[in-house]
Amino acid sequence: MMKKDFPPRWLESILRRVCDPKRLEGILGDLEEIYEQKQIEKGSFRAKVNYLINAFGFLRPFAWKKKSAKNNRVMFMFKNHLKLAVRNFLGHKISSTINVLGFTIGMVSCLLIGLYLLDEYQVDQFHEKGDRIYRMAMDVHQRNGELMQTAFSPAPWAPAMKEDFPEVEAYTRLMRYRLEIPILVEGTTKSFYERNFIWADSSIFSIFSFPLMEGDPKTALAAPNSVVLSESTAKKYFGTADPIGKTISYEGTRNLTVTGVMQDLPRNSHIQADFFASFSTLKQFWTIIEDWEILYYYSYFLLDENGNIEELSKKMPDFISRHMIAEVNNFFKPQFQALNDIYLSEDRENELEAGGSRRRLFLFIGIAVLILLIACVNYINMTTANGIKRVKEVSIRKVLGSGKKNLVFQFLGESLFQIVLSVGLTILVSLLLLPLLNELSGKNISLIGNQNFSYFLFFIIGLGILIGIIAGLYPALFMAGMQPTQIINKNKNTRTSKFPLRKVLVVFQFAVCSALIAGALLMSAQFKFITQKDTGFNRDQVALFKLNGGSIFSLENMELLKAQMEAEAEVKLATLSSHSPIGDQPYYGRYQFEGIPNVTEALSMGRLHIDADFISTFDIDMVAGRAFDKAMTTDTSAFVINETAVRRLGLSTPKEAIGKLISYSTQGENGNYIRRGPIIGVTEDFHFRSLHFQIEPMVMDIQPARFHFLSVKGNGPGLIQNLPRMQEKWNAILPDAPFDMKLMDDLFYQQYDKERRARSLFGMFTIIGLLIACLGLFGLSIFITAQRTKEVGIRKVLGASVSQVILLLSRDMLLLIGFSLLIGLPLAAYLGEKWLTQFTYRIPLNIGLFIWAAFLAIGIAIFTVSVNAIKAALANPVNAIRDQ
């Protein structure tokens, strides 16, 4: 019975078909014998695999049924098909070029998009225990009914969860301060601002697969004041010297000993760190670490093999009640995210790094497929159009006894030939264009020398086969199905070509193209809108200096620096503030208001600490009251709020807010204290965050202890040229601190990098799609014009004008294009509207934009079609009529 199981019949029949019958029995017998032997030695499965490998070894020429006449005929047909394919290719140079170009462009776009997708999906996939790692994020239901979805969680939860839940094998907490941290090396002048400085529990290296090159992964971060550097960071700080045991200084105050060096974290990780410092250090100075409700940390859990995250999350309400009070459950809803899911799911607030987005991926997959379809449509149109010319060839073949199957294979072979050519070109072009993709997407994808290359080959071959089926099959069946009798009424058939599929396909192509054009215009308009909207403050000529870093920046130093900067001729104004008005995280406080009806509870509002020059430096308008004034000493306990805050308080005019009292608890040098004072002014709303976010209510006061930034407004365009002198002044006052200056304008545009990239990618693919479609249209118009050469000649002889002829030749096409706009533009409007809803501040869908898109699409189509029409119209009619 075993013997009947194996070898499978299909395999035997392949061999039977291919192999020389004289040796077949011997070969099968040998295979069987080896199989029986292997089965005894290594078991059934290995034996079967082995059999397969051996059997495929026989698929080579020596074993083929060479001498048989039938076989010869197949080989001959194959050669003949190939020859015909080559001849046909060379004979129709224009349509062949259009086809190959179209396929190539389509496949290149698909391929590059595929590589991009692959890269996105590989993020965080390298962790060995990745399927058991989860992050606890938090949904916070605020008292005002708003839902905040943050990636943060409180610090004490994770250790308590490990205590309480046996399935939690390990946890690690990460903390990154919102600002860049100055790191100094003792005894040298080296100092850098570091963004990727992360505090982490010692278990980090046993949970995540971040390999250490030096140091013990188990103990490197066990002791307080230890730090692990990445390889390149170690080089940056210590050169070639051994970094282990060396000391770096955090903000110039806290010495950390280097206990390990890790490999640079891979780019495709949602955690990007140059430093991991021991979390236990934080206890020494970070007082809020014991707080069960402060969200500022990232908690990752490693479950054991039997752990089930759903069950764990069901236990959380009970956990919260046990450790805090049950009421907290109304506000805090912990959310567990699988590690592999963090990057591609929609970003929460306070993410470590901005993630990818599935929605964007789907958009690009959609575009890639559409472009490929446009290219396939071209092929179908061109081949069937040309096919009508080949009716004679097909008829004669049929008359001579060629079967339909044979003809189908012949035409399939022809498309295959063109596809193989395009595949070759595609590989070349993709390799050339890869740097461009990296540039546009901000990635660093490489092909050569890694596993991507095998994916790449696999993908491109798959693509070739797919295209062959989509594009090749229909024309092959169509042509093979032509009847010999068509020869007789050939003229009637081709003249008016009632072939509706071609029309449908052209309409499809241009519907897609017009939708793409409208989409690209829409994205551009929205991008322009968010980058040019008045943000409520003036960032022109403003430079931002970071002054963050503990004791290096004493208040005296900061004030001195500010005064020195202001003394410069090129500097108009300077101001100190707790936050940068661009590209910073929001910060909230709970404010108690007095004397406002209906507001009794403390309200959470944005919190900003500024000095008296902030409002004038940024040209923020006051709608009521006045700004802070240096001359008024009482202003140090006064408040300025924004219009949104006034609305939140339920007041009808900003004036009513003036004089109302605010109090809130804040941390000073001697611990927490209550700060209380009147509202002296109301500013116009300004965008503290990017336009992705709604303007929030904002409370501003003067609190020098919290200043972290110095903004300097230039007086004309001389600010940048003055940079070296500024640095001198800086170094004189703050020799230890890294000099770091950025232009507000650059920071502003950085916020919209993602949109800018999406816009350029989309624009590029629109152009590509359009290009392919135009190629197709061009080819088709050549064909149609050629069909009607004689008609045009006769019409001209009878007195038709050039313009009449052009109209005659282009009319059908343009009607189709017009029709396709009716499909494409509403579709674009629908999808565009959906896309726009993700923006808080958005443009309305505007008719003008769609008219533009229609205009563009028609213009391009007219240009493409009329080139041939004009040529035909201008030609001497004699040449057209003469040859009969």
């Binding site: 013997k3 040796r23 029995e25 011997g26 099968l28 069987e32 080896i34 051996n54 070894g57 074993a63």
Partner: protein, 110 residues
């Protein structure tokens, strides 16, 4: 008919066919080569070499009687022809001549 040159692996296979005399079929040849030289060759390579040898006229093939093993299939047995023997001999003579003519000093230089 192709040329009568005998390649290195062909020679090995041909010698094995001669050694196995009356039992020279695919698997046996493959086994013998592996045991004697340690070379792992696939069964299809053996067959393809035998095919070439046959085209050059160095081996003949025939089927022997069916056996219960091998799924009841007969073995395709190969035997060396006169031409094969000649080719082996001329190869050997060539080698011997070459060996003889190596000056002693060439070995001593090592």
């Amino acid at each position: 008919m192709k040329g009568t040159h005998l390649g290195e692996f062909e020679e090995l296979v041909l010698l094995t066919v001669a050694v196995l005399f009356d039992n020279a079929y695919g698997v046996a040849i493959q086994k013998e080569i592996k045991e004697r030289s340690g070379r792992k060759v696939s069964i299809s390579t053996v067959h393809s070499t035998l095919h070439r040898l046959q085209q050059k006229g160095f081996v003949d093939s025939r089927y022997d009687g069916a056996t219960p093993k091998r799924g009841g299939r007969r073995k395709l047995l190969f035997t060396m022809t006169m031409a094969g023997e000649k080719a082996l001999n001329s190869n050997r003579n060539l080698r011997n001549d070459l060996w003889k003519d190596i000056p002693d000093i060439a070995f001593k230089l090592k």
